[in-house]
C-alpha cells in the first residue's frame, strides 16, 4: 500500500438514476505504482469512467477504500478533494475541455491560478515551459478555435502537466482524434512516462491500449483482467509506418 501511488480495495460505487439503483462498480481492487502506465479498457457501461472519476477525486466512494499517495481519500470533504486534484492530479479529457475564447497559455495557467503558492511570474514561466514540452510554444497566444484537435489536446496535456502532478489521468484522450494525431499524442504520453510520470488512461481502442505498459479490462463493474502488455508498440514507430504506407493524409 505504501509503495503504491494509487491503491484501491474492494471499491463499490452505486448511484440512483430515477428509481433504479445502478451498481457501477462492484468490488474493484487495483494498485498503481509510481512510474506505471496503465490503460483501462472496457465496453461502454463497464464502469471504467466511474472508476476514473473516483480515482480522479471527482466522485465519492460508496464502499471500499481508496488511498492516493498513502492518503485515505474516503473521508475527504469537497474542498479537500479539490485541493488533491489541484496538487496531485492532472486531467486530460476526450473532448479536450479547454476554455473557449481563452488563449493557449491562459488555459495552461489555469490550474496554477488555483494554487496560492505560485506567483504570477512563476505561473507564466511554468505555463510556457509546459506548452514548450508539448511543442506548442509558438502557438501560446492562439485561441482554441485557431488550433486543430491535436493541438487542443496538447494544450490540455500541458495544462495537466503544469502543476507537476503525481499522476496524469486521461479519459479517452484520443477519442476525438484521427489515427495519426492519436499516435502523436501517444508519443507525448510515452515520452512523459519515460521521464517517470505515472499515467492512467481510459480507452476503448485496443491499438491505443497497446502503447501502455499494462492493461486493465473492466466488465460489468469488475476488473476481469490485469496484466502487462506483451507485444507493446512504440508510437514513434507506428507513426513512421503510417506515413510510409501513406494510410492517412498528412494532417496535424
Amino acid at each position: 500500500m505504501a509503495d503504491s501511488l494509487i491503491s484501491v480495495r474492494n471499491l463499490e460505487k452505486s448511484y440512483k438514476m430515477g428509481d433504479v439503483e445502478v451498481h457501477a462498480l462492484r468490488g474493484v481492487s487495483l494498485e498503481v505504482k509510481t512510474g506505471e502506465y496503465v490503460a483501462i479498457m472496457g465496453a461502454s457501461g463497464s464502469g471504467k469512467s466511474t472508476f476514473m472519476n473516483i480515482i480522479g477525486c471527482l466522485d465519492h466512494i460508496s464502499k471500499g477504500d481508496y488511498f492516493l499517495d498513502g492518503v485515505d481519500v474516503k473521508t475527504f470533504s469537497k474542498n479537500q478533494l479539490a485541493d488533491l486534484r489541484s496538487k496531485k492530479i492532472g486531467f486530460i479529457f476526450q473532448s479536450f475541455n479547454i476554455l473557449a475564447r481563452t488563449s493557449a497559455i491562459e488555459n495552461v495557467e489555469l490550474p496554477l491560478l488555483y494554487n496560492n503558492s505560485v506567483g504570477s511570474k512563476e505561473r507564466k514561466e511554468r505555463a510556457y515551459n509546459a506548452l514548450k514540452s508539448v511543442g506548442l510554444a509558438d502557438r501560446m497566444h492562439s485561441l482554441p478555435n485557431q488550433l486543430s484537435g491535436g493541438q487542443q489536446q496538447r494544450v490540455a496535456i500541458a495544462r495537466a502537466l503544469v502543476n507537476e502532478p503525481l499522476v496524469i489521468m486521461a479519459d479517452e484522450p484520443t477519442g476525438n482524434l484521427d489515427t495519426r494525431t492519436s499516435f502523436e499524442i501517444m508519443e507525448i504520453f510515452q515520452a512523459l512516462n519515460e521521464k517517470g510520470r505515472t499515467i492512467v488512461m481510459v480507452t476503448h481502442e485496443p491499438d491505443i491500449a497497446q502503447f501502455a505498459l499494462s492493461n486493465v479490462i473492466f466488465k460489468d463493474g469488475k476488473i476481469i483482467s490485469n496484466g502487462l502488455v506483451k507485444d507493446r508498440k512504440n508510437p514513434t514507430e507506428e507513426l513512421k509506418k503510417l506515413i510510409e504506407y501513406n494510410l492517412e493524409p498528412t494532417t496535424v
Binding site: S86, N97, R101
Partner: protein, 406 residues
C-alpha cells in the same frame, strides 16, 4: 486562489461578453442615475422653497385668533375675533424676546380711482409693520406717528395696485383713491416684491394707519392678527413660549381651557413645506429605486444565464482544482463588478442629468454626498444580493455532471 487572480478571471470573462456586460450594467446605470437625479431635483426644490420662505423673515411670529368655544360648542379657528390691540401692546410690554409687535386689521376691499377700480387687501397697522414684514418704500414715505394718532386718511400702496388703477410707470404719490367710499391720499409706494412661495402677489396690497382702517373703515374693536418679530432667529421658539401665557392671562382663560389663539412662526411654515418636499423627494427616489431593483434583477438573470452557459467551464475549473469557494467568488465578483462599475457610471450620468436639469431647465438642483453614498451602497448591495444565488448555483455544481453538460 487569491483575490487578484479572481479579479483577473472575472475581468476576463466579462470582457469576453463585452456587449452583454454593458447591457446588464445599463440597468444599474439607469437605476443609479435616476436615483441621484431625483434626489438632486427633490433636494434642490426643497432648498429653494425653504430659502424663499426664509426670505420672508424667519424671525416673524404670527398670532391669529384661535378656536373659540361657546357653551361647549367649538367654533373653527379664526371664526371669532378674540385678539385686541391691547394684546399686542401687552406682548410688547412684557415679552423681552420680541423687538416689535403690531396689531393688524385687514379687509379685502374695492378700491376706486377715477374711472378704474380694483379689489385688493387693505391692511391697517402701525409703521413697525413695514419693519416686521421687511417692506421697503420705493417712492414717497411711510405715514407718520401723528397720521396714526389722528387716523389720517393716507396710505402706502403696492405696485400691482398702482398698475391696475393708474397704469404702468405712473407716480401715484399725492393721488387720491377711495376705499369703501372713504377717500385716501397715497403717500408712498412699496418696492416690488413679486410672488411669494404660495403664489400670492405680494405687491397687491394697500397699507394704511391702524386706527384709520380699524375705526374708519371696519368700525370694530377686534383685530385680525398680531405680527411680532423676535430679537433674533434663535429665540423665536422661546419667544413663542413667552407670548402664550401673556395672551392666556389677557384673555382670562381658565387653566384647563384650550388657547383661543394660534401662534405660528415662519420657521413652522418653512418646516412644513420642507417636510412636504421631503415626502415628494422620497416618493421620487423610491420610484427611481424601483428601476435600480429592476436593474438588479437584470444582473441576476444574466448571471443565471451565464452560469448555465458556462457549466462546462465551471466543470473544468472544478476538475483542475478550483474549490467551490473559488467558483462562488468568481461569479460574485463578476456581479459585484457589474453593479459597482454600473453604479459609478450611474453616478456620473446622474450628475450629468442634474446638471442639465439645472442649466437647461432652470430647475434648482442640489446633489448631496449622501445620495451618492446611498446609491453606491445600494448598487453594491444589489450586486451581492442578486449575484449570490447564481454564484451559489455555480459553486454547488457537481464537477462530473458539469463536465458532461452539453
Amino acid at each position: 486562489m487569491n483575490l487578484i487572480n479572481l479579479f483577473k478571471v472575472a475581468y476576463r470573462s466579462l470582457k469576453k461578453n463585452l456587449f452583454r456586460t454593458f447591457l446588464t450594467m445599463l440597468g444599474i446605470i439607469i437605476g443609479v442615475a435616476s436615483v441621484i437625479a431625483m434626489l438632486a431635483i427633490g433636494q434642490g426644490s426643497k432648498e429653494n422653497i425653504t430659502a424663499s420662505i426664509s426670505s420672508l423673515g424667519t424671525n416673524t411670529i404670527m398670532i391669529y385668533p384661535g378656536a373659540f368655544s361657546m357653551g361647549g360648542v367649538r367654533m373653527g379657528a379664526g371664526s371669532v375675533s378674540t385678539l385686541t390691540k391691547e394684546d399686542a401692546e401687552a406682548i410688547l410690554r412684557r415679552c423681552e424676546l420680541v423687538s416689535h409687535v403690531v396689531p393688524v386689521v385687514n379687509k379685502s376691499s374695492q378700491i376706486i380711482a377715477g374711472s378704474q377700480n380694483w379689489k385688493t387687501n387693505v391692511v391697517g397697522s402701525h409703521a413697525d409693520y413695514f419693519f416686521i414684514r421687511d417692506l421697503h418704500i420705493q417712492t414717497g414715505n411711510i405715514y407718520s406717528e401723528s397720521d396714526e394718532h389722528s387716523a389720517a386718511k393716507v396710505c402706502v400702496v403696492g405696485q400691482t395696485v398702482v398698475t391696475n388703477l393708474f397704469g404702468e410707470n405712473v407716480d401715484p404719490i399725492g393721488k387720491m383713491i377711495r376705499i369703501n367710499a372713504i377717500p385716501f391720499k397715497i403717500i408712498g409706494m412699496l418696492e416690488k416684491k413679486g410672488q411669494n412661495t404660495f403664489g400670492q402677489d405680494q405687491d397687491d396690497i394697500i397699507i394704511a394707519p391702524f386706527f384709520t382702517v380699524q375705526k374708519r373703515m371696519l368700525q370694530t374693536t377686534f383685530i385680525n392678527s398680531i405680527l411680532a418679530s423676535g430679537l433674533d432667529e434663535k429665540v423665536i421658539d422661546e419667544a413663542t413660549l413667552e407670548i402664550k401665557p401673556i395672551l392666556r392671562e389677557m384673555h382670562k382663560l381658565p387653566p384647563n381651557d384650550e388657547d383661543d389663539f394660534t401662534i405660528r412662526t415662519q420657521q413652522d411654515i418653512a418646516k412644513t413645506f420642507g417636510s412636504i418636499s421631503s415626502v415628494l423627494t422620497i416618493l421620487l427616489a423610491s420610484i427611481a429605486s424601483i428601476s435600480l431593483l429592476v436593474g438588479g434583477i437584470g444582473i441576476m438573470n444574466i448571471m443565471l444565464v451565464s452560469v448555465t452557459e458556462r457549466t462546462r467551464e465551471i466543470g473544468i475549473r472544478l476538475a483542475i482544482g478550483a474549490k467551490s469557494k473559488d467558483v462562488l467568488l468568481q461569479f460574485m465578483i463578476e456581479s459585484i463588478f457589474i453593479s459597482l462599475i454600473g453604479g459609478a457610471l450611474g453616478i456620473l450620468l446622474g450628475l450629468l442629468i442634474a446638471f442639465l436639469v439645472s442649466s437647461l431647465g432652470g430647475w434648482p438642483v442640489t446633489v448631496t454626498l449622501s445620495s451618492i453614498l446611498l446609491s453606491s451602497v445600494f448598487s453594491a448591495t444589489i450586486g451581492i444580493f442578486f449575484g449570490w444565488y447564481p454564484a451559489r448555483k455555480a459553486a454547488n455544481l457537481n464537477p462530473i455532471d458539469a463536465l458532461r453538460y452539453e
